[in-house]
C-alpha cells in the first residue's frame, strides 16, 4: 500500500519520449513557435445515483437542494459507499480509451475550504487512479493524430455556489455535490486550438457511445481545464499555464488562442527574449472579452494535503469483471462509421448526417441501452439499423430517413428525438412504396400523416385508412385487388381523356409533352394515389387505339 502512495508515472520517462509523439509542423499563425497543449476533462458520470451516496443525480433545472443525502451535506456520522455502476462506466471508458485498467486502485482526500465542498475535502484518486496509459486516435478532416491518455480517475463533483450580485449572499445548491466524475487527463500531445477542439469532440462522442456521460458542455456535464505552453522550435518546453473550467469547445479554442498570443508577448517583450519564461499560473477565461486572466500564481498554489481515504480502502477489480464489461461492449463511433461505410455502403456525407443526428440521442443511466427500442429513443443509427433489416436497400432507407423523415421533422420545427414514427412503420412505409402498393407521393403523404397522428398501427393499415393504396399494376400477389385497382385506373384515365379533348387532340398530332398534363389530371382526380407511369402508358394506348 505504501508504494501506491507515490504518483505513478515518472515525468522523466514522459520527457524522453516526448518528441516522438508528434512531428513539428510550422503554423503560419506563429511561425518558429511550438505550442504544446494538454487537456484535463471532467466528465459527469451518467449514473442514476451519486458516487458515494444513494441520492439520485439531479437533472438540469431541478429545484436546488432536492437531491441531497446526509452524506452529500457532510453530516457527521455519514460514510461513503462506492456506487459500482460508476466504477463500471469508468471501466467502459478506460476500455474505450485503450487504457491499462488498474486491478487495484484507491481513493484519496483532497482538502481545501470552499463553500462548494461541504466536507472540506474532495474524494478523488490521486495516488492510484483506476486507469493509466491510454490513447485516442483523433480524426479530423485533414489530419489523424494520437492523443495519449495519462490517466482516468474517479472523483466527486462539488456543489454549485453562486453569489447573488445584489445581496452579495452566497447561494449553495448541493444537488451536484458528490455526483460521480471521471477526470480524463491527456499527455501534452495536442498542438493547435483546432486539434484541441477535435480532441474534445472525439472524446465526447466516445463517452456518449459507451454511455458513460452525456458529454454535454452546455449543461456542464463536461468541463475542460487546458494546459498551454509555447517554446521556440528546437528549444526546451516552455512553462505551462493552466486555464480552468472551460465549458464550451468554442471558449476552449478561444482561450488557447489568447493564451498563445499572451505567452508570446510575455516572452518577446522580455529584456532577454532568448531566456525569458512565462510565469507559471492558473488562469481563468472571460467569456465576454475572450481573454484569459490570472487566478493565482505558482506561489499561491494551495497545498491540498492529499491523504488516502481511510474508509474506502482498495478498489479491487477482478479480471472477470473487466472481461464481462469488454464482452458487452457498445459500438464505438469509429466502428459505427466503418460499419455504415462497409456494411451498408453509405457515402460519408450521409454517415456524417446520421452520426450528427445520433449524437442528440439521450444517454440512459448506468450504461443501460435503449438501442433495442423501435422508436427514436434508440438513436438515429440504431433506428437506421432497424429499418435496414428485412433486406431493405440501405440507400433507399437513408434517403427516406434523411430527406423525408428528418426534412419533415425540421419543417415542423422538431428534431429526430421528437420523431413518433417507429422504425417498423418507416420500414413498412418504404416497402409499400418500393412494392408499388402506394406511390412515392403517397408515401410522403403517409409519412407526414404518421408524424402528425402518431399511432401504433401498421403503415399499411394507415395507408388503407387514408385510401392511399395506388391504382396501378402492382406486384402485390392479390389478383382481385390488383384487378380492381386496374379498373379504377382505367376509369380515371378514360375520364381524363374526356375531360381534356384539346390536349388529347394535341397528343394525337404528335405533341408527346402534353401527355404529362393528361396524366396530371389523373393524379389530381386520384388525389395522388395513381401510378403516374402506368397512367401514362394507359392514356397513350387509349388515345392511339381508341377502338379498344
Amino acid at each position: 500500500m505504501l508504494g501506491e502512495l507515490r504518483r505513478g508515472v515518472s515525468p522523466f520517462v514522459l520527457r524522453r519520449c516526448f518528441h516522438d509523439v508528434r512531428q513539428y509542423k510550422e503554423d503560419i499563425r506563429w511561425p518558429g513557435w511550438q505550442v504544446i497543449i494538454g487537456i484535463e476533462t471532467h466528465a459527469q458520470i451518467k449514473s442514476r445515483q451519486k458516487l458515494f451516496s444513494n441520492a439520485f443525480n439531479a437533472t438540469l433545472g431541478e429545484a436546488s437542494n432536492t437531491h441531497v443525502s446526509p452524506f452529500d451535506a457532510a453530516f457527521p456520522g455519514t460514510l461513503p459507499r462506492l456506487n459500482h455502476r460508476c466504477v463500471d462506466l469508468a471501466i467502459r471508458t478506460s476500455v474505450a480509451l485503450q487504457c491499462d485498467i488498474q486491478t487495484r486502485s484507491s481513493f484519496d482526500r483532497k482538502h481545501y475550504f470552499y463553500p462548494d465542498l461541504p466536507s472540506g475535502y474532495q474524494i478523488t484518486q490521486y495516488y492510484a487512479p483506476i486507469a493509466l496509459n491510454g490513447c485516442i486516435e483523433v480524426v479530423s478532416p485533414d489530419l489523424t493524430f494520437p492523443v495519449r491518455i495519462k490517466q482516468i480517475q474517479l472523483e466527486q463533483d462539488t456543489a454549485k455556489s453562486t453569489v447573488n450580485p445584489r445581496s452579495r449572499a452566497s447561494q449553495l445548491d448541493l444537488n451536484r455535490a458528490g455526483a460521480g466524475l471521471m477526470e480524463i487527463v491527456t499527455e501534452p500531445d495536442i498542438r493547435t486550438p483546432e486539434e484541441a477542439g477535435t480532441y474534445v469532440r472525439t472524446l465526447q462522442s466516445i463517452l456518449r457511445a459507451v454511455g458513460a456521460s452525456d458529454g454535454n458542455m452546455e449543461e456542464g456535464s463536461l468541463r475542460c481545464d487546458v494546459n498551454v505552453s509555447i517554446n521556440r522550435v528546437g528549444r526546451p518546453l516552455g512553462t505551462r499555464c493552466e486555464i480552468k473550467n472551460l465549458n464550451s469547445i468554442r471558449f476552449m479554442m478561444a482561450a488557447i488562442m489568447h493564451e498563445i498570443h499572451r505567452q508570446r508577448v510575455v516572452i518577446e517583450s522580455a529584456p532577454d527574449p532568448e531566456t525569458a519564461t512565462v510565469p507559471q499560473e492558473t488562469r481563468g477565461f472571460d467569456e465576454h472579452s475572450f481573454e484569459t486572466y490570472r487566478l493565482r500564481s505558482k506561489e499561491d498554489a494551495p497545498d491540498y494535503r492529499y491523504m488516502p481515504d481511510p474508509n474506502l480502502g482498495t478498489l479491487v477489480l477482478s479480471k472477470e469483471r473487466i472481461s464481462q464489461i469488454c464482452r458487452d461492449f457498445p459500438e464505438l463511433p469509429s466502428q459505427t462509421r466503418g460499419r455504415l461505410r462497409e456494411q451498408f455502403g453509405l457515402p460519408e456525407r450521409d454517415i456524417d448526417v446520421l452520426l450528427t443526428i445520433d449524437s442528440e440521442r439521450k444517454i440512459p443511466f448506468d450504461g443501460e441501452s435503449l438501442q433495442h427500442l423501435d422508436n427514436a429513443e434508440a438513436g438515429a443509427v440504431a433506428y437506421f439499423d432497424k429499418v435496414c433489416t428485412k433486406q431493405r436497400d440501405p440507400k433507399v432507407v437513408v434517403n427516406w430517413m434523411i430527406h423525408e423523415l428528418i426534412g419533415k421533422l425540421s419543417a415542423r420545427g422538431e428534431s429526430f428525438k421528437d420523431n413518433k414514427v417507429t422504425a417498423s412503420q418507416l420500414g413498412q412505409l418504404i416497402d409499400l412504396v418500393e412494392d408499388g402498393v402506394i406511390t412515392r407521393t403517397s408515401g410522403k403523404h403517409l409519412l407526414r400523416h404518421l408524424l402528425e397522428n402518431p399511432t401504433q398501427t401498421t403503415a399499411l393499415q394507415v395507408a388503407q385508412d387514408l385510401r392511399l393504396t395506388a391504382f396501378s399494376h402492382s406486384p402485390i400477389q392479390n389478383a382481385s385487388a390488383d384487378c380492381q385497382k386496374q379498373d379504377v385506373l382505367l376509369q380515371l384515365c378514360a375520364q381524363a381523356i374526356v375531360h381534356l379533348p384539346a390536349e388529347v387532340e394535341s397528343f394525337r398530332r404528335g405533341n408527346a409533352n402534353v401527355l404529362n398534363r393528361i396524366v396530371g389530371q389523373v393524379m389530381k382526380a386520384s388525389r395522388g394515389r395513381a401510378d403516374a407511369k402506368a397512367a401514362g402508358v394507359i392514356i397513350a394506348r387509349m388515345i392511339n387505339e381508341p377502338k379498344q
Binding site: L2, L5, P76, G77, L79, L82, F113, P118, Y306
Partner: protein, 479 residues
C-alpha cells in the same frame, strides 16, 4: 467496598436505571441528555435479547431522538436526522436508550475534561472508603463508563480510537471492550480517525458486555469498513476451535497461552498496578494457563505513529465543521477579510472547537502538508505496519496478551497531567493501530480503594477468547 460496587450488577434486574440517573447524574455529569421514558413498542420482530435493558450512548454516536453534540460547542445544537446502525440494532433488540453520555470533544482526550458539558466525575469518588477527592472517569468515553459504574444503565456504548473505552473502563472499575476493527458498524458514529475508530461496549461484567456485543456484531452495508458475515463466522469458528482445544473443565484454562509483553511495563507504570498485573497472571497460571514472555519491539514508536495518523485523519474529518450546512456558526464581522473561505470559517472554527481539538487539527494539518507528508504520515503508516507485524508474530505463539490497562488508577481532576496524559496511551494505542480486539476488565482495587484494570488483547476476531479469559480474571476477584 467491592460489594458496594457490585450492587449495580447483581441487583440490576430490580434497579431502575432512570431513578439512579435522577439521583446521581447531577454530581457525576455522566449523562448530557436523558431521553424521555418511552415504551419500546417494537413488538413485531423475533428474538429480543436486550428487552427492557437500559443502554446509554456516547454523545458522538448519532440518535434521531436526542442531540448528538460530541461534547463540542460546534455541535451543541446538532440533531442527527438518523440513528447510528449500532443504536438501531439496540432498539431492534428491545433496549431502552436512556440518553447520551458525556465525552471528550469528538473523542479527543483521556480524562473527559475536554467537554462543553464539563468534566465527568468518577462515580467512585462518592463511595465511602475512598479518599473523597474527585477523580477523572477517564476518557474519552468517560460518561459511558461512569454511567455503568454508577448503576445508571445496564450497558453503554463508547468509541475507542486509541484507548477511549479501555481507559475509562479501567478508571471506573467496569468492563470495556474495544472490538476488532470492522466488526461494529461506524455508520452514525462521528468520525475522529476513521482507520482507528471502533464502537466499544461497557458493562458491569463480561457476560453483559458479551450480550450487547453479540447484538451489534453484524455486517452493515452502510459502513465500507464493515467486515462481511462470512469472515465473522470464520473468525468465531477459529476462536471456538482454539478454546475447544483447552481443558474441558470450565474453570480451567489448561491449554491457554498467555503472552506477557515486556514493553508494556513502562517506567511510569505505578508499582501497585504492576503488582496487580502480576497477580492476575499468576492466578491464571494457577488455573492452567501457560505464561510466555513476548516482545513487541515496535511499541515504543507506536505512540508517535498514532498521534500522526489520528491527528491527520482528525484534521481531515474536522474540516466539515464550518458552520455552513449545520452546527455552530460565528458570522465574520463586516470589516473581516473575506478573500478566502478559510478566513471566513476561521471565526466559527476558532470558537467552535476546544483547545485539544484545535491542537490536533493543527498537528494533523501539518503532517499532511506536502513538505511533511513523507516524513510524518508515510513514516507513521510504516510504523503502523510494524506494530501489526509485532502482533501477528506474537499471536503465532500465544492466544492473548495481558497487560495493565492504565499506568495508574484514576487521576484526581484538576491535576495537570502534562505529557503523562499521552504516556498513558502507550498501553492502549498499539491494539488500535493493529485493529485487534482489546478488553479492559476490573482486576481488584488499589489500597486507596481505586480500581485497577487489566487488558486482554487477542488476534483479530478473537472476542470470544478475550471474554473467556476476561471472565476468568474477573472471577478471580469476585469470589
Amino acid at each position: 467496598m467491592l460489594q458496594r460496587l457490585n450492587v449495580a450488577t447483581t441487583g440490576r434486574r430490580f434497579l431502575h436505571w432512570r431513578r439512579a440517573i435522577a439521583e446521581k447524574n447531577a454530581s457525576i455529569n455522566a449523562f448530557v441528555y436523558i431521553t424521555p421514558k418511552t415504551k419500546n413498542e417494537q413488538t413485531n420482530a423475533g428474538a429480543k435479547n436486550l428487552r427492557g435493558l437500559g443502554v446509554a450512548i456516547k454523545d458522538n454516536i448519532c440518535t434521531v431522538d436526542a442531540p448528538t453534540t460530541c461534547s463540542s460547542k460546534m455541535l451543541q445544537e446538532f440533531q442527527s436526522p438518523f440513528d447510528a446502525t449500532v443504536v438501531k440494532l439496540l432498539r431492534e433488540q428491545g433496549a431502552d436508550i436512556l440518553g447520551k453520555t458525556n465525552c471528550d470533544e469528538f473523542g479527543m482526550g483521556s480524562l473527559n475534561i475536554n467537554s462543553v458539558h464539563g468534566p465527568v466525575i468518577n462515580p467512585l469518588s462518592f463511595l465511602d472508603g475512598v479518599d473523597g477527592v474527585s477523580r477523572s472517569a477517564g476518557g474519552s468515553s468517560g460518561g459511558s463508563a461512569a454511567a455503568v459504574a454508577a448503576g445508571m444503565c445496564f450497558a453503554a456504548l463508547g468509541t475507542d480510537t486509541g484507548g477511549s473505552v479501555r481507559l475509562p473502563a479501567s478508571y471506573c472499575g467496569v468492563v470495556g471492550l474495544k472490538p476488532s476493527y470492522g466488526l461494529l458498524s461506524r455508520w452514525g458514529v462521528v468520525s475522529f480517525a476513521d482507520s482507528l475508530d471502533c464502537v466499544g461496549v461497557f458493562a458491569a461484567n463480561v457476560q453483559d458486555t458479551r450480550r450487547v456485543f453479540d447484538a451489534l456484531n453484524v455486517h452493515d452495508p452502510k459502513d465500507p469498513t464493515s467486515v462481511p458475515e462470512e469472515i465473522r463466522r470464520q473468525a468465531a469458528a477459529d476462536s471456538q476451535a482454539r478454546m475447544d482445544s483447552w481443558s474441558g473443565d470450565k474453570r480451567s484454562l489448561r491449554g491457554l497461552r498467555i503472552g506477557v509483553p515486556q514493553e508494556y511495563f513502562p517506567a511510569e507504570l505505578s508499582p501497585f498496578v504492576r503488582q496487580r498485573v502480576k497477580d492476575v497472571i499468576s492466578e491464571l497460571k494457577s488455573i492452567g494457563a501457560t505464561v510466555i514472555p513476548v516482545s513487541l519491539p515496535s511499541t515504543s514508536y507506536a505512540l508517535s505513529a498514532y498521534y500522526v495518523i489520528a491527528s491527520a485523519e482528525a484534521s481531515s474529518n474536522m474540516a466539515r465543521y464550518d458552520g455552513v450546512e449545520y452546527g455552530f456558526q460565528v458570522r465574520s464581522p463586516p470589516e473581516a477579510d473575506h478573500s478566502t473561505a478559510s478566513r471566513v470559517y476561521a471565526y466559527t472554527r476558532t470558537r467552535g472547537f476546544g483547545e485539544e481539538v484545535q491542537k490536533r487539527v493543527l498537528l494533523g494539518t501539518y503532517a499532511l502538508t506536502a513538505d511533511a507528508f513523507d516524513n510524518y504520515f508515510l513514516q507513521a503508516q510504516k510504523v503502523r505496519q510494524l506494530v501489526k507485524d509485532d502482533f501477528n508474530r506474537s499471536f503465532l505463539g500465544v492466544d492473548v496478551l495481558i497487560h495493565a490497562s492504565a499506568i495508574r488508577t484514576a487521576p484526581p481532576l484538576g491535576e495537570d497531567g502534562g505529557l503523562s496524559t499521552y504516556v498513558q496511551d502507550v498501553l492502549t494505542v498499539p491494539a488500535s493501530l493493529a485493529g485487534v480486539p482489546a478488553m479492559s476488565v476490573p482486576a481488584g482495587v488499589e489500597r486507596d480503594g481505586w480500581p485497577v484494570g487489566v487488558s486482554i488483547v487477542g488476534q483479530w476476531g478473537s472476542e470470544r477468547v478475550l471474554m473467556r479469559v476476561g471472565s476468568a480474571v474477573t472471577g478471580v476477584f469476585t469470589e
